[in-house]
């Protein structure tokens, strides 16, 4: 009898433990309620001050990344090829590095360079503005400056979702 109660409790615990996760995993969608993309200005790797406002009229993808985040590192070469393909069609890709000390990021970029601009956010101002809740986070903004796509994390294959969003926004 004691064993049965225990078994039932074990099953209940396992279900209760898993339930929120199953619900949450399906709820994480990439389309968001359209909202104006918060403005910001950050310093780039070349020392220039770069603002989001400069790119009004373009489709802008912002990728929040860090050198200590392995899915971020895995994703960046793919983002680079997306950038090269669409940059002449009014598409801009900005990498925002969230690390307080840029040393590790610079070292990694030296070994694995990308052709799109990288901006430093050492005080996490832009990360907070965009309410970054996972690493990496990818945001796509349409030509009028409205956030239309938000993706948390990176698993191989996610770049297809990016491409679908970019293609539909580029023709607008």
């Amino acid at each position: 009898m004691q064993n049965r109660i225990t078994a039932a409790a074990l099953l209940a615990a396992l279900v209760a433990l898993a339930l929120p996760a199953w619900a949450a995993a399906d709820a994480a969608a990439d389309s968001v309620a359209p909202a104006a993309a918060p403005a910001f200005t950050l310093q780039s790797t070349s020392g220039q001050q770069v603002s989001l406002a400069q790119f009004k009229g373009d489709v802008v993808m912002i990728n929040f990344w860090a050198s200590w985040c392995s899915p971020c590192r895995q994703e960046m070469p793919l983002l680079d090829s997306i950038y090269r393909k669409y940059k002449d069609m009014g598409f801009e890709l900005i990498g925002v590095n969230v690390e307080p000390d840029p040393k590790s990021a610079n070292a990694w970029l030296k070994a694995t360079p990308v052709s799109y601009p990288i901006l430093y956010d050492p005080q996490s101002k832009v990360s907070q503005l965009y309410q970054v809740q996972a690493m990496p986070t990818t945001v796509i903004i349409d030509r009028s400056g409205t956030v239309r796509f938000l993706h948390r994390g990176y698993l191989p294959g996610d770049e297809n979702a990016y491409l679908n969003s970019i293609r539909s926004l580029i023709v607008q």
């Binding site: 209760a16 929120p20 929040f64 200590w68 990360s127």
Partner: protein, 75 residues
């Protein structure tokens, strides 16, 4: 009896987390140090398993030797 209590406590904890979302006080972009390899809770499982085995075969105590979690929290 103890097992049942333990499991029900865990179930309660799991349900609570679904109902009352707490804002994380360490943001995902602040986990740089926690993601460092030296901060992993079990850096070398092949070695820690061996040493724990040496101790447990000579001692009366057993169990509660490890935890999982931490790290970069990516994805």
């Amino acid at each position: 009896m103890r097992i049942t209590a333990l499991l029900l406590a865990a179930a309660l904890l799991a349900l609570v987390t679904g109902c009352a979302p707490i804002q994380p006080w360490v943001k995902p972009y602040e986990r740089e140090h926690l993601a460092d390899a030296i901060m992993a809770l079990d850096r070398n499982p092949v070695s820690s398993t061996y040493l724990n085995h040496v101790f447990e075969s000579r001692e009366g105590a057993r169990g509660a030797t490890g935890g999982v979690g931490g790290g970069c929290g990516c994805n």
